[in-house]
């Protein structure tokens, strides 16, 4: 059994729950830092892609997981980030400035969507964001002068103070550092007043109003923050892809992000990263399985789509709290060892409250 022996209030809101946790995360950090010297450049590229997806997933989690607003169109912000960053770089701006401006521009777009989106909730919001993503996709395709239209846009290599960051190792560290920065910023936000207010909006708007939380303002800010983070991920993605075309930012990407967030476990930053890990590993895992399947099933990308759907269905039906939920259950089991109650995490089903009248 594990007990918290806190002697100061600040231990209650510290980043790690115990010295054991801190050491574990330190070990993980060490492994990640040492990895480039033991692993092939191809794997490094895959890991960089994983970090980029993690940042995008964190961005969506900020919105959907913490404020309860569903967005089925986050690929739009990834696209805005990618194309914006590529355009800024082509105009000769230095890398840090370009990243900052891209994030701000993406945040502004998020605000643009967020302000009208505040008036609607739940399903309607899902549809507005989906419509927005489709519109952005079409705009990118048709605005050839800036985005290169359907032929595409080449991206300059990243370089900081003259040194190129394009090599596999340097790009890996670049992405890793950005991920750590974003993660730390979000962790700090979530354990302070703003984070609590965001959760409050998700759970009960009436109570949030009564407590003095500016619900509309917070929702718009959440949209902006989420869009900004996702735009940053888009900027990094531009460097990873090296050549941008509109069909890299379709509705499918939006749904992939939603998958990450839902499978990872709504409402937790750890979940966002776990979800990103699972979803980015899935295609590689599928391509490993393909040789073992009969020929008729193994063809096309139909198999991948099917398995994505199947994994999501399994999680929604049997583990709604996602991978993070499974992690929490295992951890709680280990911590309260002989006294673990299986119903600690029992879901409360509500049959009488219709969500049509939210």
């Amino acid at each position: 059994m594990r007990f918290d022996y806190h002697t100061r209030y600040r231990e209650g809101f510290a980043l790690w729950r115990s010295p054991f946790d801190r050491n574990l995360y330190a070990l993980l950090a060490l492994i990640l830092i040492v990895l480039p010297w033991v692993v092939t450049p191809f794997a490094l590229g895959e890991l960089s892609y994983l970090f980029i997806l993690s940042i995008a997933s964190l961005g969506l989690m900020t919105l959907t997981g913490f404020t309860g607003q569903v967005s089925l169109g986050h690929a739009a912000f990834v696209a805005i980030g990618a194309y914006g960053h590529a355009w800024f770089l082509s105009k000769g701006l230095p890398l840090p400035l370009s990243l900052l401006l891209t994030a701000l521009m993406s945040a502004a777009a998020g605000l643009l969507v967020g302000i009208p989106a505040i008036r609607v909730s739940g399903l309607y919001l899902a549809m507005v964001t989906m419509a927005f993503a489709i519109i952005v996709e079409q705009v990118i395709g048709h605005w050839s002068s800036v985005t290169g239209g359907f032929t595409g846009l080449a991206v300059n290599d990243p370089s900081l103070w003259g040194a190129s960051l394009a090599g596999p190792k340097t790009f890996y560290y670049f992405c890793l550092i950005m991920l750590c920065l974003v993660l730390l910023a979000l962790l700090n936000i979530m354990r302070s007043g703003t984070g609590r207010a965001l959760i409050g909006i998700r759970e009960s708007e009436a109570a949030s109003y009564a407590l003095g939380i500016s619900v509309k303002g917070m929702k718009a800010s959440a949209f902006a923050l989420s869009a900004g983070i996702t735009g940053l991920a888009g900027a990094l993605l531009a460097h990873h892809l090296k050549y941008l075309t509109p069909d890299g930012f379709t509705l499918l990407l939006s749904l992939e992000l939603v998958l990450m967030v839902v499978i990872g476990g709504l409402g937790s930053l750890r979940g966002a990263i776990l979800g990103a890990v699972l979803i980015s590993l899935l295609p590689t895992a599928i391509s490993r399985i393909k040789p073992f399947l009969p020929d008729s099933i193994a063809k096309q990308f139909g198999l991948e789509t099917f398995i994505f759907g199947f994994v999501l269905a399994v999680f929604v039906l049997f583990e709604p709290m996602g991978l993070n939920g499974r992690w929490l259950k295992i951890r709680t089991f280990l911590e309260s060892f002989p006294l673990y109650r299986r119903d600690t995490f029992k879901r409360n089903k509500r049959y009488m409250k219709s969500e049509r009248y939210r």
Binding site: G122, S296, E355, R356
Partner: protein, 294 residues
Amino acid sequence: MNAFWTTFAQLTLNGIAVGAIYALVALGLVLIYKATEVLNFAHGDLLVVSAFAAWGMITVWAFPFWLALMLTVVGVALFAYALDAFIIRRIAGQPQFAGVMLTIALAFMIRGAVSMLFGPESRNYPTPWSNQSMQIAGLSVANLQLVILGTAMLVTVILFLFFRYTLLGVAMQAASQNQLAAYLNGVRVKRVNSLVWALGGVTAAFAGVLLAPITMVDISLWFVTLKALAALVLGGFGSIPGAIVGGLLIGLIEQYAGVYMPDGTKDVVAYLVLIGVLIVRPHGLLGEAHGRRV
């Protein structure tokens, strides 16, 4: 001037024909939403399944068109019933988000399965009205479009009569408004909900089988769902007449936009309408505004 009116009238006729499809699909969506509070993102994939099933029956097994249509309708209805009975029912009581996610998952699975079984090529199959068109008051219209329009109207009228005058229809309305009260009055709510899903499947089957010869039999049929969503929002969520009105209007707006507005607008105008309606008048044209008692 005359040319303007001719074009306008032609566009209107086209718009109504296209809108009828959207209306039919939106009708299925709104039925399912009213009954089970789940927005069925997999509806478009039911269309895909219907189209491929019809193709298989007509070209591979050489069934006559009518037989294929009837079998597809019955088959997809059963499939939709099974989807609800075995899968969707399990998430009753969970927040709405879970339902959305589950239908998205089902959509992926159905799309993937169809992709795997049939491959990526577009196909087609003949109908009794393929390649025929008529002239009405100087405007040309494909016979198939007229059939689609007629089917949509027929289905709407039959559903209206069904909900109004049959016991089962009234039971469905009751179950969609207050499940507990319906239970207490002897309505077998779970079964009724699955039957509503079956009805949704019927509308999807009709839409799929009749639309596919126009737009080809492949997975991209599912895109119609998005237009149907715009139709739903425009007409008013949760309103059956609204779904129909919304579908027709979206069809018309698209046709007009194709000619009277800048290039490329036609593809996105439905989504612009969706966003616009949700901002300006969230409960659409015929829906009711809802609040919450605290």
